[in-house]
């Protein structure tokens, strides 16, 4: 693993050099977002639980400074495979400033990845310690991480498996009388048992869903259509599946509608290969839905995106939307989800995580989304 992380640091550093910078400060505030790069996670493998940072530059032995200092034991274990030293500190910015000073790096020669996380107060403290004149290097860093390396792809693959397996286990528990939040809680706990360290999870149900929303007190009943957006993280790498299950026997109209979404998924999937633009994928996903007479529901306010990237690495390809100016490249991973509101049966969810390879897309799920039904 040492080579993975040193390779990432080298790529970041090469981009910094190209921008005329001598080194980088990698900073996390430890408030993780599943659609934002966490540079400390990316460069070290540590998912920090407090603000943490490091300086990287040519011929400088990198040291990761972690807060809270009591988390040093875990931090050391986490970053040892990355070949890094770590130290606990209660004065993070002072430690970073000292590391930069020791390396002979003036603030004006440094880029900061994670600069967008600084608040008014923390930015003032950061400047006071390091000095002003550094550059925000967040966007170039996202672009460095745009293609997921093999190690990150494997974590995403594992996360996708956890999503499927957790859903399978939780679905076996569903019964009328259970509350939405109880189903969500069981699903989440199962995924923890399978190794997930976080989850972007939304679960709700209705006989005619307008959308999916946070789980409520609603009691599940026969005929309910249960929606689940399941996005576990495995060691900081996220994958997402979108699933729909009906409690009881599905009507023919519901089954047919779900097949329409599966057709949309397949249509979009066929376009997913290196070089394809997001607009082309969106058009392909929409084509069968529009042909079935639901064109107006493929646009706002009913529809915003047909998928997105995620993970503590690069969020690219950001959003599968016509406004996204990104083309696919081998090594990208993202969820493709033709989730769709249909006036006939309501909102349905259908999506799986993809890895883009030179030969085209690989769907990471063993079982692609289908309309599930559970005994009522």
């Amino acid at each position: 693993m040492s080579a993975v992380f040193s390779g990432r640091r080298q790529r970041l550093l090469a981009a910094a050099h190209e921008a005329g910078l001598a080194g980088l400060v990698l900073y996390t505030d430890a408030v993780h977002s599943f659609i934002e790069l966490d540079p400390v996670w990316y460069a070290t493998g540590l998912r920090a639980i407090g603000p943490s940072a490091m300086v990287i530059a040519e011929d400088v032995d990198p040291v990761l400074f972690v807060t809270p200092s009591w988390d040093l034991v875990r931090a050391r274990q986490s970053v040892a495979p990355a070949g890094l030293e770590s130290r606990g500190t209660d004065a993070l910015f002072a430690a970073i400033a000292a590391a930069a000073r020791d390396a002979g790096l003036a603030a004006a020669t440094l880029g900061v990845v994670g600069a967008e996380r600084l608040t008014t107060v923390s930015k003032a403290e950061f400047d006071s310690a390091l000095g002003a004149g550094w550059s925000d290097f967040d966007q170039p860093a996202r672009e460095v991480a745009i293609v997921k390396d093999t190690a990150e792809q494997e974590l995403v693959r594992r996360a996708s498996w956890i999503a499927e397996e957790g859903y399978r286990q939780a679905l076996a528990d569903v019964r009328p009388g259970m509350k939405e939040f109880e189903f969500a809680g069981r699903l989440d706990t199962y995924m923890h048992q399978l190794g997930a360290d976080d989850n972007f999870l939304i679960v709700s149900a209705s006989r005619h869903n307008r959308s999916v929303h946070a789980p409520s007190d609603r009691i599940l009943a026969d005929g309910d259509i249960l929606l689940a957006e399941i996005s576990p993280s495995y060691q900081g790498a996220f994958a997402q599946i979108c699933r729909t299950a009906v409690i009881g026997e599905p009507s023919k109209e519901l089954s047919d509608s779900y097949e329409l979404l599966r057709a949309a998924f397949s249509s979009g999937l066929a376009k997913c290969r290196p070089g394809t633009s997001m607009g082309e994928i969106v058009a392909a996903v929409n084509e069968p839905i529009e042909a079935a007479g639901f064109a107006e529901f493929c646009r706002p306010p009913y529809m915003r995106t047909r998928g997105h990237g995620m993970g503590l690495g690069s969020p690219y390809p950001v959003s599968v939307a016509t406004t996204t100016q990104v083309s696919l490249a081998a090594g990208m991973t993202f969820v493709l989800h033709p989730n769709q509101y249909l006036p006939t049966v309501g909102y349905l969810m259908c999506g799986d995580h993809l890895l883009i390879t030179d030969d085209g897309p690989e769907v990471l799920s063993a079982q692609w989304a289908q309309l599930d039904s559970v005994v009522g």
Binding site: D90, T120, F181, A184, H192, D198, A214, P215, P300
Partner: protein, 378 residues
Amino acid sequence: MSINSLVPVLVHGRAVLDLEYLPVDEFEERLKAVRAIMADSSVQAAIIACSSGQYANVSYLTGYRATIRHSVLLVHGSRPSVMFAGLGGARGFDQIRAISWVEDVRYYGDQGAGARAVLTEWGVSGGPIGVAGFQSDVPLGVVSEIVAGLDGFELRPLDEELFTLRRRKNPRELALLARSAGIAARARQAAATEFIRSASPYKAAISAELSARVEGVGEFRVLANLAEDGALRPLGPAEGSLSRHLTMHIGLEASGYWAETTFGFPLRGDGPGGLAQQAVDAMAALARPGARLAQLADAAAKVLDDEERIRFATSLGLGQGLGLGVENELAVTGESTATLAGGEVLSLRTVAAEGTQWFPATETVLVTAHGGRPLTPR
């Protein structure tokens, strides 16, 4: 060590506007109090920013907490409030309306332009307006964008006034805090039961989580001694090792209000465990109006009576205020200059160690004239 750590990427448990515990009149009263602050500060409107990690001010007024990005609440002296939230999709608005008291939810790509548009709708074209959350609740980039749209306005910070309003808990809030503490106590019991069965801190943590989640918590965070070194860790890919003892920190939120507990099992009333409990008791006894938080920290240090023990305990934190999140303004430290007013809820904590084994003691107390009153029975 506190619930500050391990912020998940999304609150994914029960997250609804809990009108049973917090009926509309509760929010109306809160809004009235904020409007009184605005009037005292001579501002016609206030702009309050929050993020998924720092959301108490906005949650206090709306029930809503930001999910994957920041949110902005605009409050007028008499008109209905407006909230900017979500990413602009219809699906997001449905979710936001389900968990917020505010009816007018909007999305603006540029928060500053949005703020100016709403102020213009309200006929507020210049002069002083109140702001909160601009210092440390949202990234500077968000603040800069909002401020750029407010050229010509004088911005008056209201952070301290809003915290003064929130720090004193009313009976409904105390009921919710006690309810959360009860869920935490049952999660703790579930963990102990599983630990007796399996000797696995990992399985104990999973059991604690399941217990809390099926009771309807919005968020659940746990640290446990998952490895032989005894240090607390979050749940991860490995099941960890079996152990002769369990150490666990649980933080959970139900209906917006937090509880936290740190405990060891089996319990030990003597030695380091007894000392940790005595230190917590000493802090709790002093938790009365007029007491300085530094005095509480000093009392704990006096009980621990050893430089290394004090250093270890303070490195893990001696506690802080608790409500719609952690209230770091009320952190119990030797350097704190804050004074208790009465009506606050404090989460007090001391951890002692012997070798690799940690001996934590915690108590959540209401600050009263008679000292800290435990929120739930021990």
